[in-house]
C-alpha cells in the first residue's frame, strides 16, 4: 500500500514539475523577447515598430470540416497578401461559442473577446439587441448589394448592418432519382410542387416501391421553419411582436405535419443520426433540408449518380414560394476587438470580394455562399456527378435569390420549442390546430416576458 502511495505521489509530482518546466521555459522566452522587442521599439520610430510586430486576428468558430476549414483557407489567402498578419482560429463547438460569447460579453471583460465570431443566423438578433454596441457597425464598410438580401436583413438592427453574410442555408428537395423514376416520376414532375402534391407522390411511391418518401422526426421543427420561411412569415413580425396564433402559414404548416404523418409515407426517426441514417441506408427516397445536408447525402458514396435536386415544395398559402432557408450563419466583428480595422479589411478583401475563394470553398467544403458574384463562378456551374450531372449549386444560387427576407427576431428557438410542444397534442388529436397555436403563443409569451 505504501508503494502505491509513493508511486502516485512521484507521478503527480513529476507531472507537476514537467508541466511547470514545459510551461515556464517558452513563457519566459517569449516574455523576455517581448520585452526586448518593446524596449527596442521604444527606441525606434513609430511606424517601424508597427511593421515589425505581427498583428493577430482571433476568430471563434465551430465545425472542423466546414467553418474552421474555410476560415483557414481565407486566412492563408490574406496572410499571403499581407506580411504582418497572423490568425488564431479557435476551434469550439457551436453551443460553446455561444456560451463563451454570452459569458464574456456579460462580464464586460474585453480581454477575452475575439476579433471575429461566427453566429448562427437564427440567433444573430439576440446578440445584436442584447449587447448593443458590442458588434462593429459595418453599414458603410461592405457593399451589401453583393450579398443575398435575406441574409443582410437578418443582421440589420435600426437600419444599421452588423455582420458579414456567410454560408447560405438555401433549401432543396433532394431525391433519389432512381427510386422516383421507378414509381414513374421524372424531374419535371417534381419541379415547383406543393407539399400536398408531395404527399400524393409519397403515397404513390410507397405503393409502387415500398420506400418511404422522407425520413421524418415529428419533434424536429426544421421542416416547420422551412415552410414558414418560404411564406415570408416567421414566429415574429418585423417589429418583434409574436405572430403565432394569427399566422396563416404556420397553421398550414402544422396541418401539413399532420397530413404527412397520417399519410403513412415516412420513416419515423428520433434524432439526427437516425434521420440521416434513413437516407444513407436508402430507406428514404428523399430529404428536404438546407443545402448543407448534401455533405451527409454524399457521404454514402455508393449512391453516386442516383440523386437529383429540385426546389423545395411550397405551401398553398398564396405568398409561399418554392424557395426557403434552413440554418446558415454569418461572421461578426467585435467593436472592442484589438484589431478591428484589420479584421474589417480582411473580411472585405476575402469574404466580400474574392470570387475564387468562394469557388474553392464550394469545391472543398460544399459551402454555398450568399455572396452573389461568386455564384456565377466556375465551381457553381460545374456538373455534379453525384447528382447525375446536375449543376445543383448553380440551381441553389437561383433559389437563393427567391428566398423571402425575414427578420428572425430574438427568440426563434424559444418559439420553436413552444410550438413543437403543442404540436404533439394536435398530432395526437387532443387539441385542434387553433387551440394548439393559442397555447403555444401563451407558453411563448410567459417564457420571454
Amino acid at each position: 500500500m505504501k508503494k502505491i502511495l509513493l508511486v502516485i505521489s512521484v507521478i503527480a509530482l513529476s507531472i507537476g514539475l514537467f508541466a511547470a518546466c514545459a510551461k515556464s521555459t517558452p513563457d519566459t522566452a517569449t516574455n523576455t523577447s517581448g520585452n526586448q522587442q518593446k524596449d527596442s521599439q521604444q527606441k525606434d520610430t513609430e511606424d517601424q515598430s508597427s511593421s515589425s510586430e505581427k498583428q493577430k486576428i482571433t476568430v471563434w468558430a465551430w465545425d472542423p470540416n466546414f467553418n474552421i476549414a474555410i476560415m483557414n483557407e481565407a486566412a492563408s489567402i490574406y496572410e499571403a497578401a499581407h506580411d504582418n498578419v497572423e490568425f488564431e482560429i479557435v476551434e469550439m463547438a457551436k453551443a460553446d461559442v455561444e456560451q463563451k460569447l454570452h459569458t464574456t460579453l456579460a462580464s464586460k471583460m474585453t480581454e477575452g473577446l475575439p476579433d471575429i465570431v461566427l453566429i448562427e443566423d437564427y440567433n444573430s438578433q439576440k446578440y445584436l439587441q442584447s449587447y448593443p454596441g458590442s458588434f462593429a457597425d459595418l453599414t458603410d464598410k461592405l457593399n451589401y448589394n453583393d450579398f443575398a438580401p435575406y441574409k443582410v436583413e437578418l443582421m440589420t438592427v435600426d437600419s444599421k448592418i452588423y455582420g458579414i453574410p456567410f454560408d447560405s442555408g438555401v433549401t432543396g428537395f433532394f431525391y433519389r432519382s432512381d427510386i422516383l423514376a421507378e414509381a414513374g416520376y421524372g424531374a419535371e414532375d417534381l419541379n415547383n410542387i406543393t407539399w400536398d402534391r408531395l404527399i400524393e407522390i409519397g403515397k404513390d411511391v410507397k405503393a409502387k416501391t415500398g420506400k418511404a418518401i422522407i425520413s421524418f422526426d415529428k419533434s424536429d421543427g426544421g421542416l416547420m421553419r422551412i415552410m414558414l420561411n418560404s411564406s415570408g412569415l416567421w414566429y415574429f413580425d418585423a417589429e418583434g411582436n409574436i405572430t403565432v396564433s394569427n399566422n396563416e402559414a404556420l397553421k398550414e404548416a402544422m396541418e401539413t405535419y399532420k397530413k404527412i404523418l397520417d399519410a403513412d409515407i415516412i420513416i419515423p426517426t428520433a434524432g439526427w443520426n437516425e434521420w440521416v441514417g434513413a437516407f444513407n441506408n436508402g430507406d428514404a427516397a428523399s430529404v428536404i433540408s438546407g443545402c448543407w445536408i448534401t455533405g451527409s447525402v454524399k457521404a454514402a458514396t455508393d449512391q453516386s449518380g442516383k440523386w437529383a435536386a429540385a426546389p423545395v415544395p411550397r405551401l398553398n398559402y398564396t405568398e409561399s414560394k418554392n424557395a426557403s432557408n434552413l440554418g446558415g450563419s454569418s461572421w461578426y466583428i467585435l467593436d472592442a476587438a484589438q484589431n478591428k480595422d484589420l479584421a474589417i479589411d480582411f473580411m472585405n478583401e476575402v469574404f466580400g470580394g474574392n470570387v475564387d475563394f468562394y469557388q474553392t470553398i464550394l469545391t472543398n467544403n460544399g459551402a454555398v455562399a450568399s455572396y452573389l458574384p461568386a455564384i456565377k463562378g466556375s465551381a457553381y456551374s460545374a456538373a455534379d456527378e453525384f447528382f447525375g450531372g446536375q449543376a445543383v449549386f448553380a440551381d441553389m444560387g437561383k433559389w437563393m435569390n427567391e428566398i423571402p427576407s425575414i427578420n428572425y427576431g430574438l427568440y426563434t428557438y424559444e418559439a420553436d420549442s413552444a410550438i413543437m410542444a403543442n404540436l404533439e397534442d394536435y398530432l395526437s388529436g387532443s387539441k385542434t390546430v387553433e387551440d394548439a397555436l393559442k397555447d403555444a403563443e401563451a407558453q411563448l409569451k410567459s417564457q420571454i416576458q
Partner: protein, 272 residues
C-alpha cells in the same frame, strides 16, 4: 441448494442480465464505433470495422490529441494533488479544533454548496481576467483546488478517528503537521483514495469552466475537443468515438486499480 432453479432466481438473473446489458452496451458501441467510418456508424453497424488506425491517425495528426490529453492529465493531476492536500487539512482543522467559530465557519462553507456554478461563473471570470490568468491552466487548477464537497466528505470520515491517538502524539511532542502527515493521513488512506477518485472525475470531466477560461487551441482539454468534434454539420463519428474511448480510459484504469480502496473509503476508513 446448488444448481436448484427457483422462479425468483430466474427473475433475479433476468433482471441482472438486462441491467448488465444496459451498462455494457454503450461501451461496446463505443469500441466498435472506434473501428468504423462515420457512415457505417450512422447506418447502425455494430461489428468491428477496419477504420481504427485511420481514426487514430486523424485524431492525433489533425486534432493533436496527444497535446490535448497531456493538458487534461496535467490539469487533473495537479488539481487532485492540491485538492486532496487543501481539503483534507481543512477538514482536519474543522474536526480537531472544535469551537463555536469553526463550527459557524463550517456551516458557512457548507452553505456555499447551494450556489450554482452558473451564478459564480461571470464574477469568477472577471477575477481571473484581472489576475491575468486568462488562458492559463493555472486558472483551472486554482479554482478546482478546493472543493466543499470533498471537505465535507473528509470531515464525515475524520470524525470517527479516535481523538486519543492525536492527544497521545501531542503529549509525545509531535507537531501538528507531523501528526497529520505521519499518523493521521496514513491511517486514512482509503478515504484519501475515495476522495482522489471523486476529485479526479470532477476535474477530468469539467467542461464549462475550461471552456470559458481557455482561449487557444493548444490549451484545450479533452472535454472541449470532444464537444468541438461533435458539433460538426457532418460529424466524423469514428473519430469522435476514438476520442471518447481514449478519454474514458484513464477513468476506467484509475477506477479498476483503486476499486477496493474506493469502496472501503465509501464505507469509512476505520474498522471498529
Amino acid at each position: 441448494m446448488k444448481g436448484k432453479i427457483s422462479i425468483p432466481r430466474i427473475f433475479i438473473y433476468l433482471f441482472l442480465i438486462v441491467a448488465s446489458f444496459l451498462s455494457i452496451f454503450p461501451f461496446f458501441w463505443m469500441t466498435t464505433g472506434m473501428t468504423n467510418s462515420a457512415v457505417d456508424i450512422v447506418r447502425g453497424k455494430m461489428t468491428f470495422g477496419t477504420m481504427f488506425f485511420e481514426n487514430i491517425r486523424i485524431l492525433f495528426s489533425e486534432y493533436d490529441m496527444a497535446l490535448v490529453l497531456f493538458n487534461s492529465i496535467k490539469v487533473t493531476g495537479l488539481t487532485v494533488v492540491l485538492c486532496l492536500l487543501i481539503c483534507s487539512m481543512a477538514a482536519y482543522g474543522f474536526v480537531m479544533y472544535k469551537s463555536k467559530i469553526t463550527q459557524r465557519l463550517y456551516a458557512l462553507t457548507m452553505l456555499t454548496m447551494m450556489i450554482p456554478f452558473a451564478a459564480l461563473m461571470i464574477p469568477l471570470f472577471q477575477i481571473i481576467v484581472q489576475f491575468k490568468l486568462l488562458n492559463s491552466h493555472f486558472a483551472l487548477i486554482i479554482t478546482g483546488a478546493s472543493s466543499v464537497f470533498i471537505i465535507f466528505f473528509f470531515r464525515q470520515s475524520f470524525v470517527t478517528y479516535p481523538f486519543e491517538i492525536i492527544q497521545a502524539a501531542r503529549v509525545d511532542g509531535a507537531g501538528e503537521f507531523r501528526i497529520f502527515f505521519k499518523i493521521f493521513a496514513p491511517s486514512m488512506k482509503s478515504t484519501f483514495f475515495a476522495a482522489a477518485i471523486y476529485a479526479f472525475m470532477t476535474s477530468w470531466n469539467s467542461y464549462m469552466w475550461p471552456l470559458i477560461v481557455l482561449q487557444t487551441n493548444d490549451k484545450r482539454t479533452t472535454t472541449l475537443l470532444i464537444s468541438y468534434l461533435s458539433s460538426a454539420y457532418v460529424p466524423q463519428y469514428g473519430v469522435i468515438m476514438t476520442a471518447i474511448v481514449i478519454s474514458t480510459l484513464p477513468i476506467i484504469i484509475i477506477f479498476f486499480a483503486f476499486q477496493k480502496q474506493f469502496v472501503q473509503g465509501m464505507l469509512g476508513s476505520l474498522k471498529a
